[in-house]
Amino acid sequence: MKHIAICTPEISYGDAVSSDVLGMFNTLDSQNLKANIFAENIFISDEIVKDISCIGNFIKSSEDVIIYHHSTGWFKGLNVLTNINCKKIIKYHSITPPDYFYGFSSDHVETCKGGIEQLNTIANLDLDMYLNDSRFNMVEMISKGVKSSKCHVVPPFNNIERLREIKPDFNILNKYNDKKVNILSVGRVAPNKGFAELIDAFALYNNYFNKESRLIIVGDRHPRLSAYICYLDDKIRSINLEDSVLFTGKVNDEQLKSYYLVSRVFALTSYHEGFCLPLVEAMSMKIPVIAYGSAAVPDTVGNGGIIWEDLDINLIAITMNEIVINNNTYFFLGEAGWREYQNNFTNKIIKEKFLNIIGKYL
């Protein structure tokens, strides 16, 4: 029987890449295939995960398969990928261009640069297949010189079914399910996420349409990006919105579900997204989506929400107001998002697509 190794730099519960890795594993396992996960930083205890240095004991035949997840610079992984003799499949999750981090975090600049350099190397290796989270990522891969016949789009597996099943955090529900209208955005607080523009758009909405509103930003506030975080905090202070903008920091699934449940609108003004799982989460929870159509965002949202081709804070503010005051728009967009999720992003659909595409190597 062929062995399939799924390789990723880090595995834990909760982050998007790990969910994709575990989804792939479960899919292969359900087909009675011999699969294992190999990682360098392991934060889960399951026996299916082994240290990357042990991969030589598992991949022994040239017909065995490696599915290599590229989401950041990973020297150890790249070394394995280059030297091992077997079928090699890449799953590309996008690398954020370093430009967004200049002036905020030199660490991030270097990490992103490393990721892009390794992407060029991976593209030049001319491997057997290149899977991409989105059409945008696939175009990037082709632009690096990979043959288009080797490139495919497979959305990442996700945890949304679990998110929909678990109980919410009732403390959050009680606290924020008040008379205020909640506008939600989800994503780690980083310069590529364009939160400054989102705050400006919300300031307009709050100032001209609805004083009784609140912007909730759910996502990790990492100390390494403190320069950016301070910049946002100063901005919020300067426009007197301290009481109306809430940064929750990192939250667990139950808390995340609660923030979705108390929100009327999901807004995203990110400059760069390789897929953006929170958009799909919002659509699956029937929350109307407004987004700036950068990078892969239009691919992900499809016809499930409002995409603005330019980042105009007036458009975003007025769209927020339209969704809040017009129930027809609110329900229609909620349904449209739900349909988009049902048609493209349930794990069942992703599983079929994944098996269909990599089938010839199994």
Partner: protein, 421 residues
């Protein structure tokens, strides 16, 4: 059900309406122009240096009037001579009239040219300064990191002193109270209290050791994360299957469990540790493990955990402890015990003895066997916390170096996990 085509059309209509609102509606007119703006970084194209120079060269060609007289080649000879003569004459007049303008044009161009040169010089100087600045920032960062380490050490020392002071104050209060009551002879109860008190003499010191040797609370929490899936999989930590953490220390595990919405209680003999837990709002009590467990009803807990606890005691104690743990666990409940891994040579020969309260190293096969013999099932060993790669020697495919790395830099801890059927 909304069809895809419907939503596409609906969304397009909606977008048109909103754009119209932004452009013409009263609502958008109300919006303060000072914050009304469009933002599209990709649309801004800055001219390059070459663009500047070629534009100036072009302008220079047109700056002077009548430098070349048209040849009028298409005209007949006489006509051409007349035209050229008239043109020359007109140019002479124009030159007189526009002399100031031409001088102005040329001086403006000169100014531009020198402006661009200055700009380039400034750019170079700026780049140099930026490099110096970046280097300085890196130096400062390194210095700050060093200072942070020093400050953290000092903070640990201050905490140690504070804790010792609080303990001393409590004792002084007790003595004053006794003196006030005029204690004449020490009864048995008093004697036991005094003995207990002696056992707590080093409480603050152990906290100090933990702060300095075991690692920061954040590091410990990161390491303990690995157990959360095990707990979740066993479906314990609910109201009717709470978790007891023996030797809970500073409460890192209790905090993780609390954040995960699980019910847990901590137990520690060290009063200062208990105070630390309580300050964080964690459920922790002071007590000795064996007698505490003996006081619990059978089948009342979902899990019992102990991190770096069992190596502090002798073998008989461990056997007795496991017997009690098995008794108090519910069916399907589990025990997790983490301890230093003596099969790592550095740990077994040296690091284990850094803590003076450690008893004997406990090899994992022995502990696994003890759990199995005490009635636990599905007993497994989790190897944890290997050294960072930076410590390891380069393997280069050699078996010797691989073994060396395994023995010296392999997992520093292990955990034994066993279930009650």
């Amino acid at each position: 059900m909304v069809k895809s085509e419907d939503s596409k059309n609906y969304i397009e209509d909606l977008k048109k309406r909103i754009r119209k609102k932004v452009m013409t509606d009263q609502e958008s007119k109300n919006i303060d122009n000072s914050i009304k703006r469009r933002y599209d970084p990709s649309s801004i194209i800055l001219p390059t240096e070459d663009d500047f120079y070629s534009n100036i060269n072009k302008a220079e060609q047109n700056a002077d009037i009548g430098v070349t007289v048209p040849s009028f080649n298409k005209l007949f000879l006489l006509k051409r001579i007349i035209y050229r003569w008239i043109t020359k004459f007109l140019f002479k007049i124009l030159k007189v009239i526009t002399i100031n303008q031409r001088n102005f044009n040329l001086s403006v161009l000169d100014t531009f040219r020198s402006g661009i040169d200055d700009h380039n010089n400034l750019k170079l100087r700026f780049a140099e300064t930026k490099t110096q600045f970046d280097t300085r920032i890196i130096e400062l960062k390194i210095k700050q990191e060093q200072q942070d380490i020093e400050i953290s050490k000092l903070n640990n020392m201050i905490n140690y002193l504070k804790n010792s002071l609080v303990q001393l104050e409590q004792r002084t209060d007790n003595i004053s109270e006794d003196t006030g009551k005029g204690v004449k002879k020490i009864d048995k109860r008093k004697l036991k209290d005094l003995k207990d008190e002696v056992n707590h003499n080093l409480d603050s010191f152990y906290v100090f050791l933990e702060d300095n040797l075991r690692g920061s609370s954040d590091e410990i929490k990161k390491r303990l994360h690995v157990y959360l899936p095990v707990i979740k999989k066993a479906n314990v930590g609910l109201k009717d299957s709470p978790i007891l953490d023996i030797g809970c220390g500073r409460g890192e595990w209790l905090e993780l469990l609390k954040d995960a919405g699980l019910y847990a209680k901590g137990l520690d003999f060290n009063r200062v540790m208990i105070e630390i837990c309580k300050k964080q709002g964690l459920n922790a009590v002071e007590g000795e493990a064996l007698s505490f467990l003996k006081g619990l009803p059978s089948s009342s807990l979902g899990a019992v955990t102990g991190f770096h606890f069992i190596e502090h005691y002798g073998f008989e104690f461990l056997v007795e402890l496991l017997k009690e743990i098995l008794r108090v666990l519910k069916s399907g409940g589990l025990v997790i015990l983490e301890t230093p891994n003596p099969s790592n040579i550095l740990v077994g020969s040296c690091n284990f003895y850094v803590d003076p309260t450690h008893n004997k190293p406990l090899p994992s096969p022995l502990i696994k066997l003890v759990l199995e013999s005490r009635g636990f099932s599905k007993v497994k060993i989790m190897c944890l916390n290997p050294y960072e790669d930076d410590f390891k020697i380069k393997e280069n495919g050699s078996e010797t170096s691989k073994r060396f790395n395994d023995y010296f830099y392999g997992p520093q801890d292990y955990a034994v996990v066993g279930y009650k059927i």
